[in-house]
């Protein structure tokens, strides 16, 4: 299976290599990858260049979809005769008065609509999804009539939920006085277990991502002609650019 995989990759590269545009694209993507990773070692000019490219591209990409969505959901109905959409178009443009020294308050009206929708959508659902449903699920756990291992787990689960909710009560100090402080300590320990678990998962996440990029560099870029020579050159330049400007001969 694995061999087939490797061979498959090779063929892909061959096919791609025919097309010059693809070759340039791969070179660029690979160099940007290397420059972006250099940040983990030290800040440098190549990273700065890569970062500015990224920020600019992201903003440009947002503009593209601003136009796309305004066209599809605003302009199309308007041009088909839904005149009410003219109002919302106007409101959308008014959003940009926020940059005007004097009339910036006009942008509060469209923002108020956005905020209002956001608040309404969130309040109506949160109370069920994140409050009642969680209470319901906890309250419905069985501690009797199940095997002893399940009973223990469920009991521990319930105790931790109760302790953590208790921990987050801030304004009734009497709840945390004296020996009741032990409840908070226990809650903190339980949360630490959860955080330790999350932390390890974050590492898994990042490893998978780094693999994706390194796989691209090694199996898509390096097989291209010249890449194997360009790699050490790129690395040397990178290391050079990491030397503080004062200590290197050129450029200052």
């Amino acid at each position: 299976m694995r061999e087939k995989l490797q061979r498959g990759r090779g063929k892909e590269v061959e096919e791609m290599a025919v097309d010059l545009a693809s070759v340039i694209q791969i070179w660029l993507a690979a160099l940007f990858t290397i420059w972006a990773y250099s940040f983990a070692f030290r800040d440098n000019a190549f990273f700065k260049f890569a970062e500015h490219t990224f920020v600019g591209a992201a903003a440009g990409h947002n503009i593209v979809y601003a136009v796309d969505n305004v066209r599809r959901y605003g302009w199309d109905p308007l041009s088909k005769g839904a005149t009410l959409y003219a109002v919302i178009f106007l409101l959308g443009l008014v959003l940009y008065t926020r940059y005007h020294k004097k009339y910036f308050w006009l942008s509060r009206f469209p923002l108020a609509i956005m905020v209002g929708i956001g608040v309404g959508l969130s309040l109506r659902a949160i109370v069920t999804a994140e409050f009642i449903a969680q209470i319901q699920s906890t309250a419905g756990m069985k501690v009797v009539g199940v095997d002893s291992f399940t009973a223990f787990n469920n009991l521990l689960f319930i105790v931790i939920v109760l302790a953590v909710v208790y921990y987050f009560v801030f304004t009734f100090p009497v709840l945390h006085g004296g020996s009741r402080g032990a409840i908070s300590t226990f809650a903190r320990w339980a949360m630490m277990a959860a955080f330790g678990y999350s932390f390890a998962n974050a590492l898994l996440s990042r490893i998978t991502m780094i693999f994706g990029r390194l796989d691209y560099v090694m199996n898509t870029w390096l097989p291209l002609p010249g890449a194997i020579l360009a790699l050490p050159l790129a690395l040397i330049l990178l290391i050079y650019s990491m030397i503080p400007a004062k200590k290197r001969p050129w450029p200052k």
Binding site: H52, Y65, V127, G196, R213
Partner: protein, 215 residues
């Protein structure tokens, strides 16, 4: 009068909009359905308009750098604005799924985005090694749970020692889920409070800067 228009009215709009959206969900009223559907459409169009803010902010900041010729920055600023223009130009005029757009997207934005976010992995790895030390009870808990999850997340070890999967499953379904649920209930109340404060005009961050009259 002006304070009413500039401050009270926007807050009133927030409350009315939010109440409409909620009423449509809780009550069986025929009248609110179409209004809320329209409102949602408006919300999408306004959100789309707001997508341009990032570019405007960048434009303001970086034209300033360029005109002041900020050292070690202004050439990057020119390049950044060029990238904005390039992406916007190709995407709007040729199309966001055109060959040309896909080319610049994959050559720069895609590669960079995926790399930049994954680069934090180096810091997490280093943090693991430096900070996961058994110094006190809390750090022992972090170390033990983190260590188990690290071992479980290596597929090879999990296959060789299936007990790791069982232990990890327990950590996942008992302490992690329950602690997260406690946090979630607290956070849900926080979100509800934020919504309530916004509706009654006690959370006015969205109003932005204050006008003369409000000061």
């Amino acid at each position: 009068m002006s304070l009413f228009v500039r401050r009270q009215l926007p807050i009133a709009i927030v409350s009315i909009t939010a109440i409409l959206v909620m009423a449509d969900y809780f009550f069986r009223i025929a009248a609110t359905g179409p209004i809320v559907r329209d409102l949602q459409n408006w919300g999408i169009i306004l959100s789309a308009f707001a997508l341009g803010f990032g570019a405007v902010n960048l434009f303001i900041v970086h034209t300033r750098h360029i005109s002041k010729q900020t050292s070690n920055q202004w050439p990057y600023s020119i390049w950044l604005l060029f990238m904005v223009a390039l992406f916007a130009g190709v995407g709007v005029f040729i199309g966001p799924t055109s060959t040309q757009y896909m080319w610049i997207y994959n050559a720069s934005y895609f590669a960079l985005s995926a790399t930049l976010y994954s680069s934090t992995g180096f810091y997490i790895a280093s943090g693991c090694y430096r900070a996961l030390r058994a110094r006190n009870v809390q750090s022992v808990i972090l170390l033990v749970v983190g260590g188990i999850a690290l071992l479980r997340n290596a597929p090879m070890l999990a296959a060789g020692y299936p007990i790791l999967i069982d232990i990890d499953g327990w950590v996942n379904s008992v302490p992690t889920t329950s602690a997260q649920r406690g946090i979630m209930i607290g956070a849900a109340l926080g979100a509800i409070a934020l919504g309530v404060r916004t509706m009654i005009g006690r959370e006015t961050g969205f109003l932005g800067r204050r006008t003369e009259a409000e000061r």
